[in-house]
């Protein structure tokens, strides 16, 4: 239980990005704080991760400048920075309300599936249709 608590990496509107930090700093913060990796290595690692999602152009933007899709990806990448991350996505459609189904979420998770150990998505029962057959 304790190990899972340490691995818990939420992606939620209740856990927002730090608004006075750029995207790369938000993502790198976890590794820099917990693993003390240098600024240069952290920045490079984040840029590589963003590149995988074709989003390296947002690395130096701040939270208010991001679109909902970009914000979701940044929240997800930040969660993945937790060691042996147990990613918990809380109501993804509240972060990206305009999505018609969960395809984008699954595709994004697939692109970075080596970054996390497990991923759980929690949502309301009545949103089940949006996820289709998993």
């Amino acid at each position: 239980m304790e190990t899972n608590r340490l691995r818990a990496a939420p992606v939620s509107t209740d856990v927002p990005l730090i608004s006075n930090k750029e995207v790369w700093m938000n993502i790198a913060l976890i590794k820099q704080y917990h693993e003390n990796i240098s600024r240069i290595s952290a920045e490079k690692m984040v840029l590589d991760a963003l590149k995988r999602l074709d989003m390296e152009n947002i690395a130096y933007l701040r939270n208010p400048s991001l679109t909902n899709v970009e914000r979701f990806c940044v929240l997800l990448l930040r969660a993945c920075m937790v060691r042996d991350a147990l990613v918990i996505i809380d109501r993804p459609f509240s972060i990206i309300p305009h999505l018609q189904d969960a395809d984008f979420i699954f595709q994004t998770l697939k692109k970075i599936d080596d970054f996390y150990t497990t991923c759980y998505i929690f949502d309301y029962q009545w949103m089940a249709d949006k996820y289709g057959e998993i």
């Binding site: 209740d14 730090i18 820099q32 240098s38």
Partner: protein, 260 residues
């Protein structure tokens, strides 16, 4: 009876708040000496904070120091001449202006510029849920947010106060030459003979203590904000009142120490 109860309640609240601030100060000061907190993330915040608090402020601070410092020193020298107290020029310059007015001017300047900004920043972070984000990812708020800001506050106040003193003494060269006709050599000699090492040490310690409290109190106050936007102005206003109270207490304590 109700009045007495009210006074008693207020007294208890004020005392508790004071004790909380002091115990929090000890907790934060203790963390500052733990090497493990100086990780890459914290160092990055520290460097940014030193830049925002000490470097960005320099042009405005320098301009204010030159204008205010020259006028102040001109008035003081004029008074000394009028009262025929020219012999005390060095004592007044070092004992009053350099060791007392420099830290006070700097602390007011920094409180208006940085403390208010820090207080608002913390309150907004609390309201926006960003403090919650740090807690969720097991990032200690004291280590990551407080300590870098406090260290930067201490460094900034000591350096800026020294800068203000240097500007004052440099203006003194010109003004003492205009008013008293004193040469640079004589002026330097007067300053050196009047400089008291103990006073300068107390002045530097006072600057460090000022720097500690004018950054810690706004952060503490900002973190007391609730999750409602309306709590931001309340947190900022309470924080700033507490900062000014702390400045007065520290100033009085330093004067008492100097007196004895």
């Amino acid at each position: 009876m109700a009045i007495l109860e009210d006074i008693g309640r207020r007294e208890i609240t004020t005392s508790m708040s004071f004790l909380n601030t002091i115990s929090f100060a000890f907790k934060v000061a203790g963390r500052m000496f733990q090497p493990r907190i100086y990780n890459s993330a914290m160092r990055m915040v520290l460097i940014n904070q030193i830049y925002f608090t000490s470097v960005q402020i320099v042009p405005v601070f320098l301009a204010a120091s030159i204008i205010l410092g020259s006028l102040l020193i001109g008035i003081v020298f004029e008074f000394l001449k009028m009262l025929n107290l020219t012999a005390y020029l060095g004592n007044v310059l070092m004992g009053l202006i350099v060791t007392e007015l420099s830290p006070l001017f700097t602390v007011f300047f920094m409180t208006l510029r940085s403390s208010s900004a820090i207080n608002t920043e913390m309150a907004v972070m609390k309201v926006d849920g960003e403090i919650n984000t740090l807690e969720v990812f097991r990032i200690d708020v004291i280590d990551y947010l407080l300590v870098p800001r406090i260290i930067s506050g201490i460094i900034s106040l000591v350096l800026l106060s020294s800068l203000f003193s240097i500007v004052l003494m440099a203006s003194g060269i010109i003004i003492s030459w205009v008013i008293f006709g004193i040469s640079i050599d004589l002026y330097s000699n007067i300053l050196l003979t009047s400089a008291d090492f103990f006073d300068i040490v107390i002045s530097l310690i006072k600057c460090a203590v000022f720097g500690f409290f004018i950054t810690m109190i706004p952060i503490q106050s900002g973190l007391r904000a609730s999750r409602e936007f309306t709590s931001i102005p309340i947190a900022v206003s309470n924080g700033m009142v507490n900062v000014f109270t702390a400045i007065i207490i520290i100033e009085v304590l330093s004067l008492v120490i100097k007196l004895f």
